[in-house]
């Protein structure tokens, strides 16, 4: 199914934390709002990547 080891997904974890926190902190001053924004960003990016994965996986089933 996957052509690479699932452990490569570990590269994703520090990146999503960093990107989400920096995105949040460059849009708010209040720490609670920063964390909320970071959480929303992390969910959005993860969801978007999940959709892309699902599409590619589905295509791979027919090729």
């Amino acid at each position: 199914m996957l052509s690479i080891s699932p452990t490569y997904m570990l590269y994703y974890l520090p990146l999503i934390v960093t990107v989400a926190l920096v995105f949040g902190a460059t849009r708010h001053e209040n720490t609670t709002l920063v964390l909320n924004h970071a959480w929303q960003t992390a969910k959005w990016i993860t969801g978007f990547m999940g959709v892309i994965f699902a599409v590619l996986y589905t295509i791979s089933l027919f090729t």
Partner: protein, 198 residues
């Protein structure tokens, strides 16, 4: 409106004094978070410093400490460096090493001279020239040693540099977009004066 008013913004119900904006932006570039520290935005300074520096250093380590170097030679146009340098001072050794390598490169043959010695035990030094994509040169050896780590290390350091560009902007002008949580101080003042008139 005087200069002090121009440098004070209201975001999330908090007044933020951006102080000397160009200086803050410069500090933010040199050391991620330093511009915010200078402005007294300590929590954000800590977030930016921790996130960006750890991502950059992690990428540098995962890539075997060879992912950050400066080179613009045929076969080795390292455009990534311009983005990695967004993280500031931590990328400066690569620039110095790159200049030294340029000086030590034979302009006619494009090969590194035999008397070339990199500084600091080769930290952030470019590969020995020439670098030819189809040949087993030094870059190929770095790839072979680290595999996906070399690619991921490159992207980690690039992303860290790109994120710091957002941070530099935040230090200069305040939060990128101010959705519903805050507005510029002059807009708030204008609204308040309108309400007073009513």
């Amino acid at each position: 409106m005087n200069q002090e008013d121009n440098n004070t913004i209201s975001v999330d119900g908090e007044l933020v004094d951006l102080r000397n904006r160009p200086l803050a932006a410069l500090l933010a570039w040199l050391i991620p978070g330093a511009g915010h520290f200078y402005q007294g935005r300590i929590t954000k300074a800590a977030i930016f410093f921790t996130c960006i520096m750890s991502t950059w250093i992690l990428g540098f380590a995962v890539g075997g400490s060879h992912v950050v170097y400066s080179s613009w030679e045929p076969g080795d146009k390292r455009w990534h460096y311009y983005l990695q340098a967004g993280a500031g001072m931590i990328s400066f050794p690569a620039y110095i090493q790159g200049r030294r390598m340029d000086d030590a490169t034979d302009s006619f043959t494009g090969e590194t001279k035999s008397d070339y010695e990199p500084l600091w035990d080769g930290l952030m030094a470019p590969p020995v020239r020439p670098v030819i994509e189809s040949d087993a040169d030094e870059v190929a050896a770095w790839y072979a040693q680290r595999g996906a780590g070399y690619e991921m290390g490159t992207w980690y350091t690039v992303i860290a540099g790109l994120l710091n560009i957002l941070v530099i902007y935040d230090a200069y002008g305040g939060p990128l977009s101010v959705p519903i949580s805050g507005r510029k101080k002059d807009e708030v003042d204008a609204d308040e004066s309108d309400q007073d008139r009513e």
